[in-house]
């Protein structure tokens, strides 16, 4: 059995003391930033990128992945106890989780969230191990034509599934692509789009963009309003009753499945998964009126779904080389720093890295259960660190993180520029994620587009003549067509606002 062999290889890598340590550091940091509002996983991972450069590839990716799913756990703690989603993904949990806490069942909500997340993480890890190799094998058959179409489909899905204006997202993708193209391109010796700045020869650094958009912009926006007084609901016993357990089993299972599927979709990931699972449970429940008033199903489903989605969103990156959301774009950046090109080759050329990372996700989930349930009191204390002390520290982490990429001031200035740009963007109704996706995918798409056109002798029909590519493009068209249908539009708006 290949599967068992691969998983045992992965477990060996993940059980290496150094990897275990950094997995722990990752999930600990992740929980911390998940608990603290005003700093997200994307910014944290981006800030830590320069530091991971000194670690071996597998170790650094294991740690970064740990931050991501650790943040999911931390986010749910604050969602339940203080009605404050630490991460966007736990917005759905605030509704019933906080209601449960006020009803004196906060401990049970936390326990169910942890159990559901752990179950979801385990299933998702297995799914990746089972289906990953097949997808990678398929992707190995891809030429430049197919790759271009695949990335196009990814971008289309990411705007269809995201909230906000479709057209504005397209504009931001284009702008992100443009920024990504600056620097030296593969086919000519001269740097381009640099306004003659020598230091930009290598292009604009991804870390500067990500820290600007998700770090600095965020702080500027947070400081506009008075921070909310944080008051945690006192915690009751941690053990759910037998009835609560029985009521949660179905939602956990359904949430896990839905989350796993939605996570694989480009642009999906954990956010969509948690909203979708919540809406599904409410729809099929015999007593939908209980939702919002402390229904345990409303905690179990989104919590399982967002963890499953967080895990499976690694699939497109690791097998196809296409990041599906901002977090995966950071992971792509981390892999590139380590000299590992994201894509189907990863599984073959870096088998230990691939399977080590998959296995570490499972171990990390286990650590999180241990870390979160007994230590929940500690996390709640941390939550009471006021934002007035927190934000100068975040500014500091942003600055030092960006500076240490290349030890030069220019990157710091760039991050400030991007931060200001991001602030204007938010004010004018643009989102940062499409920009980041464009930034990462832009150079890859240009490269594949150029090669495809060279091979076809300048005939753009090649994209619809090759069957796989035609299928991918068709899927993109269908996704766009769905968007224009009023009923779908309404459903999309509802799914995004349901819990709010």
């Amino acid at each position: 059995m290949d599967l068992i062999q691969n998983i045992s290889l992965g477990l060996q890598v993940a059980a290496d003391p150094q990897n275990l340590l950094f997995c722990f550091v990752g999930v600990l940091l992740g929980t911390l930033i998940g608990v603290l509002p005003g700093i997200g996983a994307v910014a944290t991972m981006a800030m830590l990128l320069p530091i991971t450069f000194h670690l071996p590839p597998a170790t650094s990716l294991i740690m970064l992945a740990g931050i991501y799913y650790g943040a999911q756990y931390g986010g749910s703690t604050t969602a339940i106890l203080v009605n404050l989603p630490g991460e966007a993904n736990s917005v759905a949990t605030t509704l019933d989780g906080y209601a449960m806490a006020r009803n004196g069942r906060g401990g049970a909500a936390l326990a169910i969230a942890a159990i559901g997340s752990f179950f979801a993480g385990t299933v998702a890890t297995l799914l990746i191990a089972m289906f990953g190799p097949g997808m990678a094998a398929l992707a190995l058959k891809f030429g430049p034509v197919e790759y271009f179409s695949l990335m196009l489909l990814g971008l289309v899905c990411s705007i269809v599934l995201a909230s906000g204006s479709l057209f504005k997202a397209v504009v931001m993708i284009a702008f992100g692509m443009f920024l990504g193209l600056a620097g030296t391109d593969a086919n000519s010796p001269l740097p381009r789009l640099t306004f003659g700045v020598m230091e930009l020869t290598e292009g604009i650094d991804f870390v500067a963009v990500a820290v600007g958009l998700f770090g600095l912009t965020e702080i500027m926006l947070n400081l506009e309003s008075k921070p909310r007084e944080v008051q945690a609901v006192p915690l009751s016993e941690l053990f759910p009753t037998r009835e609560e357990l029985r009521a949660s089993a179905g939602p956990i299972l359904r949430g896990t499945l839905l989350g796993s599927v939605l996570g694989v979709l480009p642009g999906g990931g954990a956010l969509l998964a948690s909203f979708g699972a919540y809406a599904l449970e409410k729809k099929i429940s015999k007593t939908p009126e209980r939702f919002g008033k402390g229904a345990i199903e409303g905690v179990a489903a989104p919590e399982s779904a967002n963890n499953a989605g967080a895990q499976t969103s690694f699939v497109p990156l690791l097998t196809l080389g296409v990041p599906s959301n901002a977090i995966m774009a950071v992971m792509a950046g981390a892999m590139t720093i380590q000299g590992v090109i994201p894509g189907p080759q990863v599984m073959i050329e870096h088998a230990t890295l691939f399977w080590g990372m998959i296995a570490s996700m499972w171990i990390g989930n286990l650590m999180l259960v241990v870390l979160n349930l007994p230590l929940v009191g500690l996390w709640v204390k941390l939550l009471q660190v006021p934002y007035r002390l927190l934000f100068p520290a975040i500014v500091f982490f942003c600055a030092i993180g960006v500076y240490s990429i290349n030890n030069r001031a220019l990157d710091v200035y760039l991050a400030v520029g991007v931060g200001l740009l991001g602030y204007l963007m938010v004010k004018l109704g643009f989102e940062g994620t499409p920009l980041v996706l464009g930034f990462i995918l832009g150079p890859m798409m240009e490269e594949n587009f150029k090669r495809a056109m060279l091979l076809s002798g300048g005939d753009a029909m090649t994209f619809v003549q090759r069957p796989i590519s035609a299928g991918l493009l068709l899927a993109a068209v269908v996704a766009l067509a769905l968007m224009t249908m009023p009923s779908f539009k309404r459903a999309r708006a509802e799914a995004m606002q349901e819990p709010a």
């Binding site: 530091i51 000194h54 057209f167 504005k168 504009v171 284009a174 702008f175 692509m177 443009f178 193209l181 600056a182 391109d185 086919n187 001269l190 381009r192 789009l193 306004f195 600095l216 702080i219 500027m220 400081l223 506009e224 008075k226 921070p227 934002y387 007035r388 002390l389 934000f391 100068p392 520290a393 500014v395 500091f396 942003c398 600055a399 030092i400 500076y403 240490s404 030890n407 001031a409 220019l410 990157d411 710091v412 400030v416 931060g419 200001l420 602030y423 204007l424 963007m425 004010k427 004018l428 109704g429 643009f430 240009e446 587009f449 150029k450 056109m453 060279l454 002798g457 300048g458 753009a460």
Partner: protein
Amino acid sequence: MDLLRTLFQRNEFLAGLFVLLLGTVCLLAVGDLEIGNAIEMGPGYVPRALAWFLVASGVGLCLTGARHAVPARAQIRWRPVVMVSLSVLVFGATIDRWGIVIAVLLSTVLATLASNISRHRETPWLCLLLVLLASIGFVKGLGLAIPIWPR
């Protein structure tokens, strides 16, 4: 004049202007980069297409935004924007020459001025904490090649 004022109060119109501005800057950055042809594309082919797309989108957004009256206007609060930017800029400007202690000190003080939620008697302690974290945790601990003191 009144017309202009109403236009500038429409968010979508401003969004259009913003994109138009981005597109124009992009076009300037492209300059006269070689376009090439469809078979062998030059380095300027794709960037130019993207830049023109931005310009066209900006014009389109302006036109539709000018017609639709959505009065919700974005409020910009200058203090956090300016002070946070300044804080990070000063960090970048001082760290090479003056070392991390001074850079962190200056940027932290500036950052605390970004909002009136900060309490000034806490600032020295915050500075001390971050300076220690930076010099001992980051530079010594992680072995970053950043000077600690002015050189």
